[in-house]
Subunit: 134 residues, 2 copies
Amino acid sequence: MKIGELASATATKVETVRYYEKIGLLPPPARTSANYRAYGNDHLARLSFIRRARDLGFTLEAVRELLTLSDDKAQSCDAVDVIACVHLTEIDRKIADLSALRAELDRTIGSCRHGTVADCKIIETLAPRGKDTA
Amino acid sequence: MKIGELASATATKVETVRYYEKIGLLPPPARTSANYRAYGNDHLARLSFIRRARDLGFTLEAVRELLTLSDDKAQSCDAVDVIACVHLTEIDRKIADLSALRAELDRTIGSCRHGTVADCKIIETLAPRGKDTA
DNA sequence: TCTACACCCTGTAGCAACTACAGGGTCAAG
DNA sequence: CTTGACCCTGTAGTTGCTACAGGGTGTAGA
């Protein structure tokens, strides 16, 4: 399999595949006589794994750990669970932050009377009380 | 006001203040004889505005536009409203994305039986069906 | 056979929005 | 008069790619 085929099979850009190789996430494949990368099914499987983990929002560092863990089939999967749970907590925090932010922005927008900038409640919310920003 | 005072008054790092100046978001202040930056209340107001907008999740580009708009007090504030609404939509999209992701991750974690990696449902979810990832 | 075109290669620079040095200068207190 | 906190400039690092520049390769049609 050439890099373009691997890339389209995993909905990845060619540059990204090479990037994953460079940072050591994807092992360097064999080369053809023309120095083209030649991938096998193991590469396809590993890249699919990486892409799915990324789609679930795991960082590349977390993906690296998950890959290492997944290679040791006899181990307890508690470490995997920990990584996933930490990630879930992180996502919950982000959702909470964004929701709070959304509420505040919504309130701000709702107060806008669509007059001039001088009376704009959005600008007023941003600016410190009464001060001139110019 | 020296840069350290301005920074702590706005909960900003000193480097960030200099960064805002470099990218033209904060006007260059006067200098003391020792070449220290000397800030006034207008700088404090402007930096507060920037920080507040950043806290609400606006990009620096959006902040730049908001600052420009806020300087022209006579204009209609419709443009301000547009920027804020676009941002709100963006936040809603992010919350929706994260929530979907959270649900999937939660399902994945919930299926984990805490055995070995070989039987781990989390790893299984990530790996393509039945394939060896090594 | 020539040539056009799609694909491949390496290496570097760019994005957002900072953050962290390195290697210096200044100033007030003890 | 020295210590330490602060200030200066400039550059490189962070995350996870993406986009060139400047070349080589392989194949299909004229």
